[in-house]
């Protein structure tokens, strides 16, 4: 076994080196993951909140959303968005696969975030909600000023895991023609026959990306910590 790291300096035949290509692939991975994360947190928080409201229709909608997106395998969802739904609604074929994959990955993760946000809100003593309402706050105001500030602090640790997962899950985007890291790895190892070097480099980049998110979330967790709250006394 000999190493050949110079493989990254070879020309791909398209006027750039494999290193250039890998950096651009990393960019795609991060773009897919971060945009999907925005979608996931927005949709997931909304659904999680709906599931704790007193209105049974809103609860039902939130539950249906969560169960739909978390009971279908991610890869199947991606294919549904890419092949099946545009087959029914022809207009969707013009939508770039990048947008499709951001929403597919975002909605898949939103189901998991919805579950965590719901758990966060439910972990608060019921008295807090009643106290808010008794003070004359409307229901949205109770959520905004009483419940959510506490609930979101509680769910930061599981949200960190979800944010790291989304980086790793973004690898399925290769299936719908996004030139991200996994596709780069599959393609470049075939072209160069130096699979071990390529996979090691790609593994490193995935690790760095997920670990950076982990550190960023840890920082956020530290900054928003409320002394006296759960885990806040440290």
């Amino acid at each position: 076994m000999t190493w050949d790291w110079q493989v990254f300096l070879q020309d791909t035949g398209g006027g750039e080196t494999y290193l250039d290509w890998m950096i651009s692939a990393w960019g795609w991975t991060l773009s897919v993951a971060l945009l999907a994360l925005v979608v996931a947190i927005a949709a997931g928080s909304l659904m999680g909140i709906l599931r704790t409201t007193p209105n049974k229709w809103l609860v039902g909608f939130g539950n249906a959303w969560t169960e739909l997106f978390r009971n279908i395998p991610l890869l199947v969802q991606i294919f549904l968005w890419y092949h099946v739904i545009p087959g029914i609604f022809r207009g969707l074929q013009a939508v770039p696969s990048f947008i499709l994959v951001v929403f597919a990955l975002g909605f898949f993760t939103s189901a998991r975030i919805s579950e965590q946000v719901k758990a966060g809100i439910q972990s608060l003593p019921r008295g807090q909600r009643y106290a808010g309402l008794a003070m004359g706050l409307t229901l949205p105001q109770t959520y905004r000023y009483v419940l959510l500030p506490m609930a979101f602090r509680i769910v930061i640790p599981p949200l960190t895991s979800e944010s790291m997962n989304i980086i790793k899950n973004s690898s399925v985007a290769f299936a719908v023609s996004i030139a991200e890291l996994t596709m780069f790895a599959l393609q470049a190892q075939e072209e160069t026959s130096r699979g071990i070097e390529i996979y090691l480099a790609v593994t490193g980049l995935y690790f760095i990306s997920a670990f950076a998110i982990n550190r960023a979330m840890l920082f956020v967790e530290g900054r928003v910590r409320v002394p006296g709250m759960i885990g806040g006394g440290r």
């Binding site: 076994m1 791909t12 398209g14 299936a175 599959l186 393609q187 072209e191 026959s193």
Partner: protein, 297 residues
């Protein structure tokens, strides 16, 4: 840490050093392991249930029969080991697989790691389009969407061709051949660039084969060969002799006819890809030249 690395390095080098002498290994164990593919067109594929067939699988069975005769073994047990394009070279190098009979392109980069039997099939990279699309050559692909499969050399040819011919088109990638064909079928792509025999096979198995046709110039020529371990002169000599013999006796032509022109299992459809001039040339002058030599012409 250093110790661990040493142990790892030692383990790796043991893996690489063992079983250099395939003939001796076959003689001692009366067994041989053939690397096969799950789905490589008519060259090598599975019928399920651990059965593997195809043009290259049958060529290999003949080769191993010849080797068995040469060794004077009363019985030779052939084990089939499915491989992928990612693991086939490491598996041949470390001795898990003795002879790989799939669809491996013989190129200079791989010749540093493994050896190849004389080329038994020459693949031509072609373009498949919808019959009613009006596309007949690569120049007409400008501004169109072109599909190909991730993890194949076709992507690279396409890129080089795009740069060389100064046409620009949008590439879309399927995750496997069936997926790429779906892109063409559903209209997400206007053309599908891939090895001719894979295109012919996919078209023959599609719902409506008359809807598709293979058009245009040959984008690249790739010698496909049976892969064996490097630096095992005795085994290579035996394999070479067997392949050369089959090429001379017309046996290869007969096998080609059987796998590419006649209905084949499991669906009993025909691939329908006539023997190309390039393949004929490779048989009339058996050689293990890498792809780069073909490109020089």
């Amino acid at each position: 840490m250093k110790k661990l690395m040493l142990v790892l390095a030692a383990a790796l080098s043991v893996g690489a050093a063992q079983a250099q002498d395939t003939l001796k290994k076959m003689k001692d164990s009366a067994a041989v392991t053939m690397g096969v593919r799950e789905s490589s067109g008519a060259l090598s594929y599975t019928l399920g249930d651990g059965k593997y067939v195809g043009f290259h699988v049958e060529v290999c069975q003949r080769i191993l029969a010849d080797v068995q005769k040469q060794l004077g073994l009363p019985k030779l047990d052939i084990r089939y080991q499915p491989v992928t394009s990612q693991n086939r070279i490491p598996l041949v190098q470390n001795g898990t697989v003795d002879i790989e009979c799939g669809s491996t392109t013989n190129n200079a980069a791989r010749q540093k790691d493994v050896a190849f039997a004389p080329t038994t099939y020459v693949e031509e990279v072609r373009i498949a389009v919808k019959a009613n699309s009006g596309i007949n050559s690569i120049a007409q692909l400008a501004g169109k969407k072109v599909a190909t499969t991730t993890g194949t050399t076709s992507v690279q040819h396409l890129r080089k061709h795009e740069r060389g011919a100064n046409v620009s088109f949008e590439e879309v990638f399927g995750k496997d051949h069936a997926d790429s064909f779906l892109l063409l079928e559903s209209g997400r792509a206007d053309a599908f660039v891939m090895d001719g025999q894979i295109l012919a096979g996919l078209i023959s198995k599609s719902k409506n084969p008359a809807d598709f046709k293979i058009v245009g110039e040959v984008l690249s020529v790739e010698p496909i060969a049976i892969m064996i371990r490097k630096d095992d002169a005795a085994f290579k000599k035996a394999v070479d002799a067997s392949v050369t013999g089959m090429a001379k006796s017309g046996e290869l032509t007969k096998l080609y006819e059987k796998w590419f022109m006649q209905p084949i299992p499991p669906a009993n459809t025909k691939v329908g890809l006539p023997l190309s001039e390039a393949t004929k040339a490779a048989w009339s002058n058996p050689n293990d030249k890498p792809m780069e030599e073909y490109a020089k012409k």
